[in-house]
C-alpha cells in the first residue's frame, strides 16, 4: 500500500514534468496544426545548454533555461519562418513538412552525438540529492522543483492564452484565419509568435529533464511518443487537458515501473497513445 501511494505520488511529480515537455507540442500541433515532431530535439538541446553552462559557470540549470528563453524564442521564430516559406505558404505542409521536422530531429541528434558523444551527462545543483520525507511519503526535490515550476509555467501560459489579445488570437488562428484577419491580426505573425513560444518552453523542459535524469542525445526519441500520447489524450489544444493527461500517464508509468519493472515503462505510453487513437481520438477534454 505504501509502495502504491509512493508510486502514485512519484507519478504525479513525473506528470508535472511531462506537462512541461508536452505543452510545446500542445501549442504547435494542437493549436497551430504544425506537426512538430522535432520538439523533443529542442528539449534535448535545452538540456545540453543547461549542462554546458552548469559545467563551465556553475549556474543553476533552471536559471540557465530562463536566461536562454529569448534565444529559444528566436530559434522558434526562425524555424517557423523556414517552415512557412517552404511549405505552409504553398499548402504542401502534410508530407513534406513532416519529413522536414523529422530531418531536423535527426540532424540535431546526430550533431549532438558528434559533439558530445553518447555518454550520459548530468548537472550538479544543491537540491538534486535532497528528499523531503512526510511519514512514509518521499518527495525528492529533483522531481518536486521541476514539477512545481512546470505547473506555474502552464498556469501562466493558460492565463496568457485566455486573457491577452495575442493569446486569444493564437487560440483563434486554428479556427478561422479569415476572421482573424478581419480583427486586424496577421495570422502568419500570430502563428510565428505561438510557434516561438512553443519552442521557448522546450528550453525550460530541457533543464527539467537534465535535473531529473542524466541525458544523452537519443533520449529525446523516447519522448516523441510520450509527448504526442499526452497531447492527443489531453484533447490537443487544451492546456488543462494536457496537465490531466500528463499526470495520468505519469501515474500509470510510475505504477508500471514500480510493479513490473522499468523496462516496460516506455511501452505504456505508446500503448496509451494507440488506444487513445483507436477509441477516443478527440481526447479527454476534446471538443
Amino acid at each position: 500500500m505504501e509502495l502504491l501511494i509512493n508510486a502514485i505520488i512519484a507519478g504525479l511529480l513525473l506528470g508535472g514534468f511531462y506537462a512541461a515537455v508536452t505543452v510545446g507540442v500542445s501549442i504547435s500541433f494542437g493549436i497551430l496544426d504544425i506537426v512538430n515532431i522535432a520538439h523533443p530535439a529542442f528539449i534535448i538541446l535545452g538540456a545540453y545548454i543547461a549542462y554546458i553552462v552548469n559545467q563551465t559557470l556553475g549556474l543553476d540549470p533552471i536559471l540557465t533555461a530562463v536566461i536562454a528563453l529569448p534565444a529559444f524564442y528566436a530559434l522558434g521564430a526562425v524555424v517557423y519562418q523556414v517552415y512557412y516559406q517552404s511549405f505552409e505558404k504553398h499548402g504542401q505542409d502534410a508530407l513534406r513538412g513532416l519529413a522536414f521536422f523529422f530531418g531536423l530531429l535527426f540532424v540535431t541528434e546526430v550533431l549532438l552525438i558528434l559533439v558530445f558523444g553518447v555518454d550520459y551527462r548530468y548537472v550538479t545543483a544543491s537540491y538534486i540529492d535532497q528528499t523531503l520525507h512526510f511519514g512514509f511519503v518521499d518527495l525528492p526535490l529533483r522531481m518536486l522543483i521541476p514539477c512545481a515550476i512546470s505547473l506555474a509555467m502552464l498556469a501562466m501560459l493558460q492565463l496568457y492564452l485566455s486573457r491577452t489579445f495575442t493569446g486569444r488570437a493564437i487560440m483563434a488562428v486554428s479556427q478561422d484565419q479569415l476572421a482573424l484577419r478581419l480583427m486586424a491580426a496577421d495570422p502568419t505573425k500570430i502563428k510565428r509568435i505561438a510557434f516561438a513560444i512553443s519552442i521557448a518552453t522546450a528550453s525550460l523542459a530541457g533543464s527539467f529533464l537534465i535535473v531529473i535524469q542524466p541525458v544523452e542525445p537519443s533520449v529525446g526519441r523516447e519522448y516523441i511518443g510520450r509527448v504526442f500520447a499526452i497531447c492527443v489524450l489531453g484533447g490537443l489544444q487544451s492546456l488543462p487537458g494536457t496537465v490531466i493527461a500528463a499526470m495520468l500517464l505519469g501515474i500509470v508509468e510510475s505504477i508500471t515501473a514500480t510493479f513490473y519493472g522499468p523496462s516496460w515503462a516506455p511501452a505504456v505510453a505508446f500503448g496509451f497513445l494507440l488506444l487513445t487513437l483507436a477509441f477516443r481520438p478527440a481526447g479527454l477534454l476534446g471538443r
Binding site: A94, R221, I224, F228
Partner: protein, 355 residues
C-alpha cells in the same frame, strides 16, 4: 512490351551485379552491396505508402525488425527442436526445420504485413498526422516487447550462427547477396505494377485529395490498408535475412533510427511519385553512406542523409526524378518539334506532363 523489357533489364542488371562482385573477388563488395540493396527494398516499400498514398511512416525500423526477429525466433526453434516441440511433433518439425532463407523471408513478410494491417486499422481512419505519430509509437512498443522477450535474446541480443557453406553459391554472403538482388527486383516490380494499376490510381487520389476521393466513391480506408500491408510486408521481407547477414542481432541495431531515416530520405531525395525515385535515392545515398562509413564514420554518414533530406524537402520537393523531368521539359521547343531532350524523355518513359 515495356513490362517485358523491365523484367529482362532488371534480371540482366541483377545478374551483371552478381557477376561483377564475384569477379572482383572482394568479399567486402558483397557486404556493402547487400546493405545498399536492402535500402532499395526499404525505400521502395516506404514509397508505396508514403509516396503513392501520401501517408508518412516513421516506423520502418519496426517493420524491418519484426521481419528480422521472426527469423531469430524461428532459427531458435529450429536449433532446439527437441526442447520446444512435443515428442510426436518433433519428428515432423525436424523435416522442415531449420527453415531456409526464402521461406523465412515469406514468413517475415507475413508477420510485418499483419502488423502493418493492424496499425493501419487502428489509425488510418484519422487525419494523416496521427498515422505518422502512431508509427513512431509502434517502433517503441515493439522494441520494448522485444527487449522483454527472453526467447529471442531480450536486450542481450541473439547470436545467429549461419551455415558456413551453401550449395551452388559456396560462400554464404554471396548467397545472401543474390537473395537481396531477387528481393529488390520483386520490390521494384511490385511498386511498378501498383503504379500502373487501378490500385495505383486509387492511391494517387488519396494523396491528392482524400475527401474528394471518398466523395467519388473511392474506398479510401480499404486502399490505405492495402498500401500499409504491402509496404509493411516488403519491409519485413527486407529484414528477414538480416540476422544471418549480421550474425548477432540486438534490439538497438534492429530498431536503429538509421532505417527509419534512410527509408524516408531515399524516396524523398530520389522522387516519390514513381518507382524510379526510391531506386535512384537508395543507390545514391546507400553508396555514399557506405563510402562515408568506411572513410569517416557512421555518424557522419547518417548526418549527411539527414541534411540532404532537409535540403531536398525544401529545395527540390519532387526529388531527383522531378529535377530531371523539369530539365527535359525545358528542352521542348515552342513549335512542338521534339528536341533531343524530349526524345530522351520519351525514351526514358518520363513524358513531360506525366507525374
Amino acid at each position: 512490351m515495356r513490362t517485358f523489357f523491365f523484367y529482362l533489364g532488371s534480371i540482366l542488371v541483377g545478374a551483371a551485379l552478381f557477376a561483377f562482385a564475384r569477379w572482383s573477388g572482394n568479399d567486402y563488395l558483397f557486404f556493402a552491396g547487400y546493405t545498399v540493396l536492402q535500402f532499395v527494398v526499404l525505400a521502395t516499400a516506404w514509397n508505396i505508402l508514403g509516396g503513392y498514398c501520401g501517408y508518412v511512416n516513421f516506423g520502418s525500423a519496426a517493420f524491418f525488425a519484426a521481419g528480422a526477429y521472426s527469423t531469430v525466433a524461428l532459427h531458435k526453434l529450429g536449433a532446439n527442436v527437441d526442447r520446444y516441440f512435443p515428442q510426436e511433433l518433433a519428428g515432423i518439425a525436424k523435416l522442415v526445420m531449420p527453415l531456409n532463407v526464402p521461406t523465412l523471408i515469406i514468413i517475415g513478410g507475413i508477420v510485418s504485413g499483419l502488423i502493418g494491417l493492424g496499425t493501419g486499422y487502428l489509425t488510418l481512419r484519422l487525419r494523416g498526422a496521427f498515422f505518422a505519430i502512431a508509427t513512431l509509437a509502434l517502433a517503441v512498443v515493439l522494441q520494448t516487447l522485444i527487449v522483454n522477450w527472453d526467447f529471442v535474446g531480450g536486450s542481450r541480443g541473439a547470436y545467429i550462427i549461419r551455415p558456413s557453406e551453401v550449395p551452388i553459391f559456396g560462400n554464404y554472403i554471396q548467397y545472401l547477396f543474390a537473395i537481396m538482388i531477387v528481393l529488390s527486383i520483386v520490390a521494384l516490380a511490385a511498386a511498378r505494377t501498383i503504379e500502373r494499376s487501378r490500385l495505383g490510381y486509387g492511391f494517387a487520389t488519396i494523396r491528392d485529395d482524400e475527401l474528394a476521393a471518398e466523395a467519388c466513391g473511392v474506398p479510401t480506408l480499404k486502399l490505405k490498408l492495402v498500401a500499409t500491408t504491402i509496404s509493411g510486408a516488403l519491409m519485413g521481407m527486407a529484414g528477414a535475412p538480416f540476422p544471418y547477414y549480421i550474425g548477432y542481432l540486438e534490439p538497438g541495431s534492429a530498431f536503429g533510427l538509421a532505417y527509419a531515416v534512410n527509408s524516408i530520405a531515399m524516396p524523398m531525395i530520389g522522387g516519390t511519385t514513381s518507382w524510379v525515385g526510391p531506386l535512384i535515392g537508395a543507390l545514391l545515398l546507400g553508396i555514399a553512406q557506405q563510402y562515408i562509413i568506411v572513410t569517416i564514420s557512421s555518424a557522419v554518414g547518417v548526418l549527411v542523409v539527414g541534411l540532404m533530406l532537409i535540403i531536398f524537402v525544401i529545395g527540390a520537393p519532387k526529388g531527383i526524378v522531378g529535377l530531371v523531368q523539369d530539365f527535359m521539359r525545358a528542352g521542348a521547343k515552342a513549335d512542338g518539334t521534339p528536341s533531343w531532350r524530349s526524345r530522351l524523355a520519351i525514351f526514358a518513359n518520363m513524358r513531360p506532363g506525366a507525374r
